[in-house]
């Protein structure tokens, strides 16, 4: 390493304005801690004080959606995997929790109410049995989705099924799951789902105090997931994930197996959705196919797109905002909301793919690197040159 080659010419070039010091690291930690403190104050202090019990219950529901959004932000925003089937994982978590709570409501040895109602069964189906134990059911709410995601993810990513193909497959998974649930009415509650959940580990869910506790549980879980997501994004793995998103083949040529990298993000997102589903059940008292099918699955994605898919907080804020707007508007103008929802999707995704967060980021990028064009003015890669899955004929 004696000859100085590159630098000679690089220095000869008209140097760009001195690069800004990497401020992102120095103040990052303190800022994050401050942000978390503010978030905690908002969720644990302000919200319960200001909101009525009814509104707080709604917020609890939105925060569950936000948890799913955090996962989608990682898988889609950071990893480029457009997963249109997060409802499946949300549902697995939700059903696992609801099955346990139904069994607990029914009491030892008894069938859940709906099974008695349909009267097809004399005893509990074998696959219901383990859920009687909280030691099985609670881990299952998170692990079951992760296992399914691992199975599907390893199969498809290893075979380099990606992009739109993966999106369609994930959506088909949601469709299949819903049809399966609806079809097995005797054991899954069919279209109705598992409803009328009374108790939560001995606490009566009708009691507003207990509802409030559930809300706190959800808020804490969301903050926990955010902390996890932040660690993931800023870790070396997070950088690697972005690299896989932007150049999967290139990463492969550096000696990594991109499939593994993607599977991890997908599994993490699935676990987050599972936890969200599990906490959704005590908050709302129901889990049903209509809450986890194709439409809710894609609605999870809307919030993420609106907020900013590649950012940490964007998905959360977007998900809460969209869910809130939905409640506020669809109560009064149901038809208008559907138009608005469609329009929102079209406008944000087509013209502001970075979401609302990009408006914020734009201010900062302008300040930071004046020579860098904002992302929407950067020339997109030419189309046509890419094959659909970017795999050469083998």
């Amino acid at each position: 390493m004696t000859t100085v080659t590159g630098p000679a010419t690089a220095a000869d070039e008209p140097a760009a304005p001195a690069p800004p010091p990497p401020a992102r690291r120095a103040g990052g930690r303190a800022r994050a801690a401050l942000g978390f403190a503010a978030g905690a104050a908002l969720l644990f202090g302000a919200a319960p004080l200001v909101l009525s019990d009814f509104r707080l219950a709604l917020l609890a529901k939105y925060l569950c959606v936000a948890m799913v959004a955090v996962g989608i932000g990682i898988a889609w925003g950071r990893g480029g995997m457009l997963t249109l089937g997060q409802g499946v994982f949300f549902g697995l978590g939700g059903y696992a929790m609801a099955m346990h709570l139904k069994l607990a409501d029914a009491g030892p040895g008894a069938l859940p109410d709906f099974m008695q109602l349909y009267g097809q069964l004399d005893e509990l189906p074998w696959w219901w049995r383990p859920f009687a134990s909280p030691w099985f059911a609670l881990p299952a709410t998170v692990l079951l989705p992760m296992v399914v995601a691992f199975g599907l993810g390893s199969l498809v990513f290893r075979r380099r099924v990606r992009g739109a193909y993966f999106a369609i497959l994930s959506q088909a998974l949601a469709a299949a799951m819903v049809i399966l649930l609806v079809g097995q009415q005797g054991t899954t509650g069919g279209t109705n789902g598992l409803t009328d959940i009374q108790g939560f580990f001995g606490y009566d869910l009708d009691d507003p105090v207990n509802q409030r506790t559930v809300y706190f549980l959800i808020a804490a879980a969301l903050l926990g997931l955010l902390a996890l997501a932040r660690q993931l994004i800023h870790s070396r793995y997070g950088e690697l994930l972005v690299a896989v998103r932007d150049g999967e083949e290139r990463v492969r040529f550096l000696g990594y197996d991109p499939a593994t990298v993607k599977v991890v993000a997908y599994v993490v997102a699935a676990g987050m959705a599972g936890l969200a589903g599990a906490l959704f059940v005590p908050a709302v008292g129901i889990i049903s196919p209509a809450l986890i099918g194709i439409v809710p699955s894609i609605e999870f994605v809307i919030g993420v797109a609106v907020g900013g898919r590649a950012t940490l907080l964007g998905p959360v804020l977007g998900a809460v905002a969209v869910a809130w707007a939905r409640t506020a508007l669809s109560e009064r103008f149901p038809g208008t909301w559907t138009y608005l929802q469609g329009l929102l999707f079209v406008l944000v995704v087509a013209f502001l793919p970075g979401g609302l967060a990009s408006l914020w980021a734009l201010r900062r990028t302008r300040r930071a690197t004046p020579d860098r064009p904002p992302w929407w003015r950067r020339v997109p890669p030419a189309r046509g040159g890419r094959t659909r899955t970017e795999v050469p004929a083998a």
Partner: protein
Amino acid sequence: MTVLFGQLFTGVSIGAVLLLVALGLALTFGQMNVINMAHGEFIMAGAYTTYVLQQTITSAGWSLLVALPVAFAVAGALGVLLEVLLIRRLYARPLDTLLVTWGVSLMLQQAARDIFGSPNVQTRAPALLTGNVALPGGITVANNRLFILGLAVAAVVALTLALRLTPLGRRIRAVVQNRDLAAVSGIATARVDRTTFFVGSGLAGVAGVALTLLGPIGPTMGTNLIIDAFLVVVVGGIGQLKGSVIVAFALGVLQATGEYLTTLSVAKVIVFVAIVAFLQWRPQGLFTLRTRSLA
């Protein structure tokens, strides 16, 4: 044996519907790598076109015949509108196109609700298509299903011939195979794209007309079909129609057999698992254009 043939025909008939829906997708997805989630709503548009025509043309038979070209034009026009307004701006971002067109599909569904009302509507089928045909061996097949099968086959043949023989078809194939080369060879790729989108969306309209024979028409009728149809294209492989044709019938038969042996819901899961398994073997689909390009 009779049962077997009965199931086989059910499967083929499911496959025919899938094929009609998937044919247009194969064209647009195959050529432009565009996932048009609003394709299902173009089907719906075709179906409602039939319904509207029946309000003026009272003869069920004539209205059906008239509906075929009219629905083609209506759905095709919607497709061109979508292509010009949105999709062409998003060619470099196929995943975003998927989301954008899903937003469009939401709006189209709501528009249908506002115009025609939320409850499903029904068209009258021509008398000729309501009965059954008894085939030798004690098998009966429904006339309407037979008609749809015929329509699907006719659509495939017409499309294949058009792609092979007409100058437009040659241009479409050229763009599918190598967009850049086609462009520098003087083919106006933008115009070819638009035409392809017209034809692909128009075929959705035709599928919509066919579906009025099988059941009621409603704002969400398209959503239920569209995912299966996309799966057909994914498994069939893009760039060639024959993949979609084979896979549509194969999935139809698999679905029917699964339904016969288990239940409808389990059959869906079986089909999904079969597709994932198939993609292990052929991740690019059944047939694919061979290229050596690396993105």
